[in-house]
């Protein structure tokens, strides 16, 4: 069981996609999670529902709308063309954008839960000890909600690695550009290359197992957040 050059390219592409997506999601998702955890706005419900949509939508539906939006006639497509960077579908960065939407709930929800379970008290204590808002985030929220951020990163990364339907809709199947592992396995099966498919599928099984093992080892059921 050896991995072909194409397989290795697909693995590298997948890791790159998942890594970039996870970093972007931590940057974008944290303020959304913070807002959802603290707001009393009537928009909390609708925004939370939109964030969670990818959990229940078939990936093809999400991919279809993203394809339309990012296509030459869609609002995002018009904007990217105006910026002079062409359109995003069938490019790596198109996949990144789609993955950010697709994996959003897996990053936002663990962070939101961790922040909610902290409660307002640690932040109030920090404020009475002269810490300003940013300072409070870095010195209190981040360390105390760390299990939530770890879970969010691992789930966001793993979920992006596992996507298939959205990739097919947005990225198609371009070697080195959008052909991720899941698509590569599909190709192998279509071409009746079962041995090749086995190799790559086994890599995915081992990877997924290790990710979950890491998650359950570092973050056992009782996350240590909150004040004693």
């Amino acid at each position: 069981m050896t991995l072909s050059e194409g397989d290795l390219a697909a693995i590298w592409l997948t890791l790159r996609l998942a890594g970039i997506t996870t970093v972007l999601l931590l940057i974008i998702g944290t303020p959304i999670a913070w807002w959802l955890a603290h707001t009393q706005s009537k928009w909390k419900g609708p925004v939370g529902a939109v964030v969670a949509l990818p959990l229940v939508l078939p990936p093809t539906v999400l991919g279809f709308y993203l394809l339309l939006a990012m296509g030459p006639n869609g609002p995002v497509g018009q904007f990217t063309q105006w910026l002079g960077i062409g359109t995003l579908p069938f490019t790596f960065w198109g996949l990144v954008v789609a993955s950010v939407f697709y994996s959003m709930p897996f990053v936002v929800q663990p962070i939101q839960n961790a922040i909610e379970s902290l409660g307002p008290r640690p932040l109030e204590v920090a404020a009475t000890l002269r810490a300003g808002p940013w300072d409070r985030f870095w010195s209190v929220v981040l360390p105390l909600a760390r299990p939530g951020f770890v879970t969010a990163s691992i789930l966001g990364f793993a979920h992006t690695v596992g996507e298939f339907g959205v990739v097919l809709m947005i990225g198609g199947n371009i070697a080195g550009e959008t052909r991720v592992v899941s698509v590569q396995i599909y190709d192998h099966v279509e071409a009746m290359e079962y041995a090749q498919a086995h190799g790559l599928a086994a890599v995915m099984v081992v990877f997924s197992f290790l990710v979950l093992l890491a998650l359950y080892t570092w973050n056992p059921g009782k996350t240590r957040v909150g004040m004693p």
Binding site: P122, A127, L129, R130, V140, P143, G226, M227
Partner: protein
């Protein structure tokens, strides 16, 4: 506007009650915010800290405006220390880390010698490398108090710091609080619903009821009032400042002479420590109304050691229809006696009548 006091004016409507206060609090000593739970004490403290916002409030701290009109100084820019009911130490930091958290950020902080003194005062020197979960409730609260003091606040706010502790832990911390009381030269606002804590620690008292601050004033003067908005029941009584002037070593008694009347005083149990209470040492004595009885002639052949002649000032009904409270002026100092209304009637008690206050028990506090 006085530059030496804390002026707080807030109005904030809640579903259950409306907080509506306009207070001029003394700029020194311990002021107790006293009342039942739900009376708005903690809310008032949070408003002063800036943790809760009341639009149109006004707050000035010794001439420095913290809130007025559009001005609202956020909590982290107010020179205050806050001790929460549960110590609320940061669990990811050691006790030392908790102490240093505020010190690293404060514009003014204790110098190392002063910090050592606070650590000493609260007896936490041996606990500094421990994590909060390795500390007992009382130890956590002591670290919490030291943490609030380490930022060298101009105002210390304490929200029922003993309420979450059992009786033994309370007894463990109270002496530390008393030492703080003697040494701190900043104003302290101390929220409590426990009369014994107030009697031991406070210099001033504000009675809070249903969101309003009804009665406020110096502790001994205020406790001697019979028209208090909150019936103290078994805890009704006075607290008097006194000085130890004499010791009777044979019988382990010390004489506490009232500051308000150097001719009057009471005998109290002396400390069993070698040397007892030092002569000249300022103390507080608490005399509960239930421990005072009145006689119109001086009795002899009684076991009661402390019998003070005085004049009846006022009478008032107590919370039970059979009982009355009587305030007696013993040469400047005031004690309150609780009797049945029948005995008050039988003795013909009325303002101006000369009586002998027989004091069965005196607690020496502080």
């Amino acid at each position: 506007m006085s530059a030496s006091s804390i002026q707080a004016r807030f109005r904030l409507a809640y579903p259950e009650f409306t907080l509506d206060v306009d207070l001029d609090l003394p700029g020194r000593g311990v002021t107790a915010l006293f009342g039942h739970s739900g009376s708005g004490k903690t809310t008032l403290l949070r408003l002063i800290a800036g943790l809760t916002r009341a639009p149109d409030g006004h707050l000035s701290m010794k001439g420095e405006v913290w809130q007025d009109g559009r001005t609202f100084l956020p909590t982290h820019k107010r020179s205050l220390g806050y001790v929460f009911q549960e110590a609320s130490l940061f669990p990811h930091l050691t006790a030392r880390g908790n102490l240093l958290y505020g010190m690293k950020r404060a514009a003014e902080r204790l110098d190392p010698a002063a910090l050592d003194h606070v650590i000493d005062l609260l007896g936490i020197g041996g606990l500094l490398e421990r994590r909060p979960h390795q500390l007992s409730g009382g130890e956590r609260q002591r670290v919490g108090i030291a943490r609030a003091l380490a930022v060298k606040p101009r105002l210390l706010l304490m929200d029922e710091p003993l309420a979450a502790l059992d009786l033994a832990r309370k007894q463990e911390i109270l002496p530390y609080l008393e030492r703080l009381h003697e040494e701190l030269d900043i104003p302290v606002l101390y929220v409590s619903h426990a009369p014994d804590e107030v009697a031991r620690l406070a210099d001033h008292i504000v009675f809070m009821r249903a969101g309003r601050a009804d009665v406020a004033g110096p502790l001994s003067e205020t406790l001697a009032r019979l028209d208090l908005p909150i019936h103290l029941g078994e805890d009704a009584g006075v607290v008097l400042d006194a000085v130890v002037t004499e010791r009777d070593e044979q019988w382990y008694l010390a004489r506490a002479t009232f500051t308000d009347n150097p001719d009057a005083g009471v005998w109290v149990r002396d400390s069993v420590n070698p040397g007892g209470h030092a002569i000249g040492h300022p103390v507080r004595v608490r005399i509960l109304a239930r421990d005072v009885s009145l006689a119109v002639t001086r009795h002899s052949g009684t076991s009661i050691q402390n019998i003070l002649p005085g004049v009846v000032e006022t009478l008032a009904d107590d919370n039970h229809p059979a009982l009355a409270l009587v305030r007696v002026n013993v040469g400047g100092a005031r004690v309150v006696a609780r009797l049945t209304r029948r005995s008050a009637h039988d003795l013909g008690l009325a303002p101006g009548k000369i009586v002998y206050a027989q004091i069965k028990a005196v607690a020496l506090i502080g």
